[in-house]
Every structure is written in structure tokens, then in C-alpha cells.
Amino acid sequence: MTHWIILPIVLPAFLAPFIVLAARYHIGIQRVISVTGILALIGIAAGLAWQASDGTVSLYQLGDWAAPFGIVVVADRLSTMMVLLTAVLALFVMLYSIGSKWDDRGRHFHALFQFQLMGIMGAFLTGDLFNLFVFFEVLLIASYGLMIHAGGTVRLRAGVQYVLFNLLGSTLFLFALGSIYAETGTLNMADLAVRVALFDPLQSSGIRVAAVLLLMVFAIKAAIVPLHFWLPSSYAEAPAPVAALFAIMTKVGAYAIIRVYTLIFPPQLEAISGLHGWWLMPTALVSLVVGMVGVLAAKKLDRLVAFSVIGSMGMVMVSISLFTPEGIAAALYYIIHSTFAAAALFLITDLVRAGRANLNLTAQAPIAGGTLTAALFFIAAIAMAGLPPLSGFLGKLLILDAAFESDIMVWVWAAVLGSSLVAVVGFSRAGSTVFWKARSVAPEDGAEIAAPPATLSYVAVGGLIALLAAHTVFAGPATAYTTAIAQDLFAPNAYVTTVLDTPGKLSDYQDDSHDDDAAESDDKVEEDGGH
């Protein structure tokens, strides 16, 4: 049963080359393999989530090498929830890309999609910081290919910016890892948690630098102002299904921040005091405001959605940087909501594109299938802006409630409520211009009427909206679960002991591993084989 934990990584890793090698020229077969694979992935992820739901932490040691010498994959409540979220999102995105035939506009869409899933799943499941880097690279390499899928000069230009920004981010990540290794001599997360806690606060300049560097890397991934500049262009220019899948990528950054800054660098750690409250919280508030003002200022619909992603990440980060169990629980609830809402909005943007020359927010002739698209946009915009009755509203309420006790409650409430108002204005302006003013513009004579989008596209978007509705209806159980996750995170003993005390090869070296570098030579063998 323990082998199941590695399956969310291994399954896409095998499907992707199989698609390239065996079904290269047959888009139909590729689609079947891809959808079947994702369905299987949902099954596995649901099984893992069910297994972890009572709080058990499951461990998989690659090659049976005990941590911290070998690589481990850890499935606890947080990881399995994120894995399940990714798998479900991937299904609807895949259905949309099949329905809209985006997957047929360039080569290797399905293979890259599977590699992307492999990277995301790996990033959620790994229990080792260097492997987190490796899986970040896997998901980034796949995302470079997906980002420029179907080509075009504008998209390639945006792709260059995206790749370069992320290359710099990866370099920063390596600098952070180097400093952490130089300071502690390990990169296993659970082992780091033990060792960092032993640091003398007066001699901690090295580990402080490492903590800040690592935070910057994750902030780039999570698109926190001022490290968000890569996001608007690349999300707006990426093919719609890819942008919708990227909705989970910013959450990988948020996940990494939650994991590392509760497990390794918890807020009560004296050596890095001030990092969470003084630095993370203000930048999160600024991201929230910048994102929502960007929604109001955007002149194109795709840019508007991209800025709303920055705003919602700001919201998530505000809640995370409270670093209380209530704050993390609210953030996790909001992460699920904002993933589905952002994905739905990106897909709807593509539906709008079906009948218009461009996505500028100007009055143009009505689009094909306009009524249904408009209705979906209306619902998704309500969800994203955080109006009742959908889950965005509940998520915001939870965040406001979590911030109530905090010292800076005034700032949080002002930013959250003010930016919500701005977002409502921005979305309603965009919606009324695109959908309602279209009635006042007569179609040009002789302009051929575009075919409405395929039913499957609507099914995919409708599915995401239905998930949002379900997330609202079952908000009680959902928040109970995220609260349980948050409590796990603030009492990481189960995680640390499961990782470090599970027997495996070399586990008898563990007690004196602090001064026994010899044992780490075996780690090297493992690393080499693993990569």
C-alpha cells in the first residue's frame, strides 16, 4: 500500500513518453490516454487523501534508504489535498482543451501536460528541499513548452520573459539551497526542522539569509508583489487551457511557503523573527491591492483575469502570513476556491475570444453563444470578486475573521474590503462592456458568424463552476478539514517522527548523523540515481 504514494508522480511520468513515442500522430489516441490517465490520477489522489484524512502521515522511502540519507515522499493531509485539487483541476482543463481543440493547434500538448502534472504532484509530495527544486524545474520545463504551445510571435515574446524570469528564480533557489546546506548539512525537510531549531539565535546570520532567499524564490512562484512582473504577460498570452492549469502553479508557491515556514522556519523561531510579520504581511497586502487595482485598470479581458490571479494570491498570502492556525485554515480554503475560480475565468476568456477580433474591453458585435458565456462569466466573476453567495465570499469572511485578533487588523480589513470593492467595479465594468454593450453594436455586413464554442467546452467550464458551488455548499466540512490540516502544521511532530524514525537502510546511522558525514556519501549515490 505504501507504494501508492509515489504513483501520482510515476503515472504521468510514464504516460508522457508513451504518448510521445506510441501515439505521436494520433490526436484521438492521445486524448484517450490523457483523459484516462487523469481519471486514474483522480482515483489515486482520492485514495491517498482518504488514507491521510484521519491525520496519518505516510512515508515512501525511495530505494528503502532511510531519511535523511535517502529521498522521501511524504503524504500528509496538506499534500494529499493539494494533489487531489491538482488532479481534479487537470480533468476539467483537459476536457476544455479537447472541446476547444487547443490541443490540436501544436504538437505534444498531451505529453507536456502530463509532464507538468508530474512536476506539480512531485512538488506537493516531496519531503526533500532539493527534490522540491528538481520538481519545480520539471514543472517549469513542461510549462515553457505549454506556454508557447501553438506558437505566434507575441506568445513567443511573452514566453522568453517567462522563461528568463523563472531561470533567475531557479538560480536564486540554488543559492538558497547552497546556503542551507552549508549551514545545516542536510536538505531533508524533517531533518532541517530538527536542526534549524537548535541554532543559536546570535550566530544565525547564515540561516537567516537562507530563509529570506528561499522566501523570495517561493514569492516569485506565488507572484507576490514586487516579484509578480512575470505573471500578467505570460498568463495572458498563454493558451487558455494552459493558463487555467497555471492557476495551480501560483498555489505551488503558496504551498511551499506554508510547508517550509511552518515546518522548518516556524514563526516562533527566534533566529528569523520578523520575517513573517514585518516582511511577508506588508508585501501580501500590497499584492492584494495591486492585483485588484490591476483588474480595474486592465484594458484587455485576459490581462484582467491575470491581475485577479495576483490579487487572489495576495489574499491567500495575507491569510498565510498571519501564521495562526485560523489563518492557514482560511488560506487553504481560499486556495481551493481561487484555483477553480481563476481556471474558470481563463477558460471563459477563451470562450469570449471565439467571436471577437480581440479581447480589448471595447464594445464589439455580439459573440457566438454570448448568453451562456455571459452567464458563466457573471458567476465566475462573483466568485472571484468575493460576493455572496459563492465560496469567495466565505473565504474572505474566514480570512477577515482570522485577522480579527491580529495587531494589524485595521490594515488587513481595509485592504481586503477595499480591494474587493475595486474588484467588483472592475469585473462589472468588464462584463457590461463585453456582454451588454455588444447589443448596441451592429455586426459588420458580410462578417461571417463564428460557430459557437463546442458543448464540451461549456461542460468543462460548467464543471468548474459546479465545483465552486459545491465548495460553497460543503463549506462546513471543508473548513473543518482545513482547520485539521492547519493544526497538523502547527504540531509537526507526527510529520518529523514519521520521516526520521521509519526504519530503512542506514537508519542505524541516524543518531550520530550530526557529525557523521560518511553516511551522507550514501545520500549522494541515492541522489545520483534519483535524478
Partner: protein, 115 residues
Amino acid sequence: MELLVASAIGILTAAGLYLVLRLRTFPVIMGVSLLTYAVNVFLFASGRLTVGAPPILTDATTYTDPLPQALVLTAIVISFGMTAVVVMISLGAFLGGNDDHVDDPKPEADAGDAS
């Protein structure tokens, strides 16, 4: 030895950052390459500098920490692949648009740009 390695990392990083800020694809890619060289040396040094010792445990008392070497190997492979990808994409963008600037083009009248 320490001074040499430290200043090499510093000079490589400084040169890399300068080139990255040039905003044309060729200098930027050169700059990113220099930065990856710098980080590779940095990772190498993170296991402490030892001269003339094997990275395996022998009867001798000195040995080099092998883990950073494994990390550097992985990092080199990844950065090599990434550089190849970015060269291809920027070539495509350059040949398509006849312009090798990395920053956003000036907003035109018809394609208003929010950033």
C-alpha cells in the same frame, strides 16, 4: 583558496546581473549563464573547500563532502537544458518579430496594455 573561490563567485554574479539588466536577449542569456556558473561554484563550496581529498569514505581522515557534488551535477544538467530551451524560444521570438528586446513593447494604440 577561500578568497579565490569567494571572489570568483562574486565577480561571476556581478557580471551576470549586469548582463541580465541589458534587456536584449543575447546579453541576458549570457548573464543567466554566468549566474548559473556562479551558483554552481557556490553549491560546490557549500560542502566546505577541501583540496586533494576523495569524495568517498576511505581509511584516510580527510575526504570531500560528496553531496554538493551530486547537487552541482543536477544543477548543471538542468541549467544546460534550460539555456538550450531559452535560446530556442528567443530565436523564435526574434525571427518572428525581428526584435530582440526582452521587455514589453511600447503599447500601441490598438492593443492597449495594462502593464
